[in-house]
């Protein structure tokens, strides 16, 4: 049986045109997905798994009891992850953090956390991906590599897509790539500006100065000639509808949020000449949803702490890397993420020292060191839920196969009930 219009939960593109062939509760084949998406559907675990406590398989009530005991005993627990689960589960995770007086942070803090900080200082002229598809004649990819990380972005949204006012697709657009290395994305560009590593901030502030008519007495900035930068400024001013997609090349380098604030300010100022927007390339399938749910429940998109009974926000203080590296938390609940594989080792190591609970469909590196492992269903494959695309469009995740596992939302509900009693 073919199931159509399936939303792929892997990356922030959330392509919703996937067809999945299911037979005997197994996914047999996948149409239209990229190689990452195919892999997600074809390698989804379907075998029944029991929870594990201290290395031993146990029944669910015992596992929930063990998890709740760890959290109740903790003076300073951390809830972390959230980017590969549905918003329904994210909301429960925040409710649990509120109840416990915990810190809660999503993987945003190691991808686009600096973007949120930059937006908080400068705002964000942005749009949905359909506006890019229909209108944009200048598309700039800055410090991001969609050809490898968001594989159908070009075709569905940004470069090849044919829209109402861009009927010829690729031919109607100029594509610029700004990066420190010639990525596969750069090979598809009309113009490639290769920056010296760490010079994003100075190049962005130079572009802003040039837009305002400043004359420069240098030949190059950040490894790019002033003539090339002047050409880019002219193109940005002259285009009809411009957009900058940016990624971790900006957020993880040098000025971080300062660079983002410059990028946003540049785009905002270009609106005096034409229409110009920016959009962060969100990585995980529902990392944008983690920002959304945390914001509507607490006021803040990440790095939230409830120890005083109300939400406090402070990146660098309540962010996972800092809390773990400074050994400021004494228990951890990891939801749909693998910090042992993705955080700096100096931070991740602390998870070895404290009791850790893992909710995840997969056996991952964090689960290997966890005290309690709670295997759950996969949203978008064996559970329904909601995910937010990189432009914050919410999409319904389908259940294409049945799973014997409970969802993250159910398990979090059980833990909340247990903590309350």
């Amino acid at each position: 049986m073919w199931i159509e219009n399936v939303v792929c939960p892997f990356c922030g593109c959330l392509c919703d045109d996937i067809a999945v062939e299911v037979e005997d509760n197994r996914i047999k084949s996948v149409k239209r997905a990229c190689s990452n998406g195919r892999s997600v559907f074809l390698h989804a675990p379907t075998e029944a798994r029991r929870p594990v406590v201290d290395g031993k398989e146990v029944d669910w009530p015992d596992a929930i009891d063990a998890a709740a005991r760890i959290l109740m005993k903790s003076a300073s627990p951390l809830i972390y992850g959230l980017s590969s689960t549905a918003s329904e589960a994210q909301r429960k995770a925040i409710a649990l953090a509120d109840l416990l007086g915990a810190s809660i942070d999503s993987t945003s803090s190691i991808c686009h956390g600096p973007t949120s900080i930059g937006i908080q200082s400068q705002g964000e002229p942005t749009c949905t991906l359909g506006e890019v598809k229909h209108r944009s004649d200048l598309v700039i990819f800055w410090g991001c590599n969609p050809v490898e990380a968001h594989m159908r972005h070009f075709a569905r949204y940004s470069v090849l897509a044919r829209g109402k006012f861009t009927p010829q697709g690729r031919k109607d657009r100029t594509v610029v790539v700004v990066d420190v290395r010639p990525t596969l994305t750069a090979r598809n560009a009309d113009i490639f500006l290769q920056l010296r590593p760490g010079s994003d901030y100075e190049v962005l502030i130079t572009l802003r100065a040039m837009l305002k008519g400043a004359r420069l007495d240098v030949a190059e900035v950040g490894g790019v000639s002033v003539a090339q930068l002047a050409d880019l400024v002219e193109r940005m001013k002259r285009c009809r509808f411009g957009v900058v997609f940016f990624g971790m090349g900006v957020t993880q380098t040098g000025g971080k949020h300062w660079s983002i604030a410059e990028l946003v300010a540049l785009a905002a100022e270009l609106n005096a000449h034409t229409r110009f927007n920016v959009m962060p390339m969100r990585g995980h399938g529902n990392v944008a949803g983690a920002d959304c749910t945390l914001t509507w429940q607490t006021g803040y998109p990440f790095a939230v702490n409830f120890a005083r009974g109300y939400p406090q926000y402070n990146p660098g203080e309540f962010t996972a890397v800092d809390l773990l590296a400074r050994q400021e938390v004494d228990a951890a609940l990891i939801i749909a993420s693998d910090p042992m594989a993705h955080l700096p080792r100096q931070a991740a190591e602390h998870l070895n020292r404290i009791p850790t609970i893992v909710l995840d469909p997969e056996m991952n590196l964090t689960a290997r060191v966890a005290r309690v492992v709670l295997p759950t269903a996969i949203y978008g494959i064996s559970a329904v839920g909601t995910a937010y695309r990189m432009d914050n469009i919410p999409l319904p995740l389908k259940k294409v196969v049945n799973s014997p596992q409970p969802t993250d939302e159910q398990v979090l509900d059980w833990i909340i009930e247990r903590v309350k009693t």
Binding site: N36, P182, H342
Partner: protein, 111 residues
Amino acid sequence: MPKFILITGRTAGQGEALPKGKESEDYRQATECIEMNPVDRERLGLQAGQRVRVRTAFGEAVLVLREKELPEGMVFVPLGPGANALIGAETRGTGMPDSKGLEVEVEPLCG
């Protein structure tokens, strides 16, 4: 010891291997590698496919060398346990570690 600038990031191979599990051979191969341009590789007398020791101020990792078109003086490591051994946990008040632009040393693995 020659110094390189380390860039970490996503690759197609790493993304595709993720759903197969962190303990799969595909994931290990996709992440435990370091990319370097041919000029630097020859200068260091290294061979593609060779295992090298990579060291930063924060840690070290043993990775398989691959040749790739990159600016001279730059190396690239895909996201994963290898990259995480190399980057530090200092975030300078942002929550975000310096995951790109660190200085690294690369040397052949002896013994």
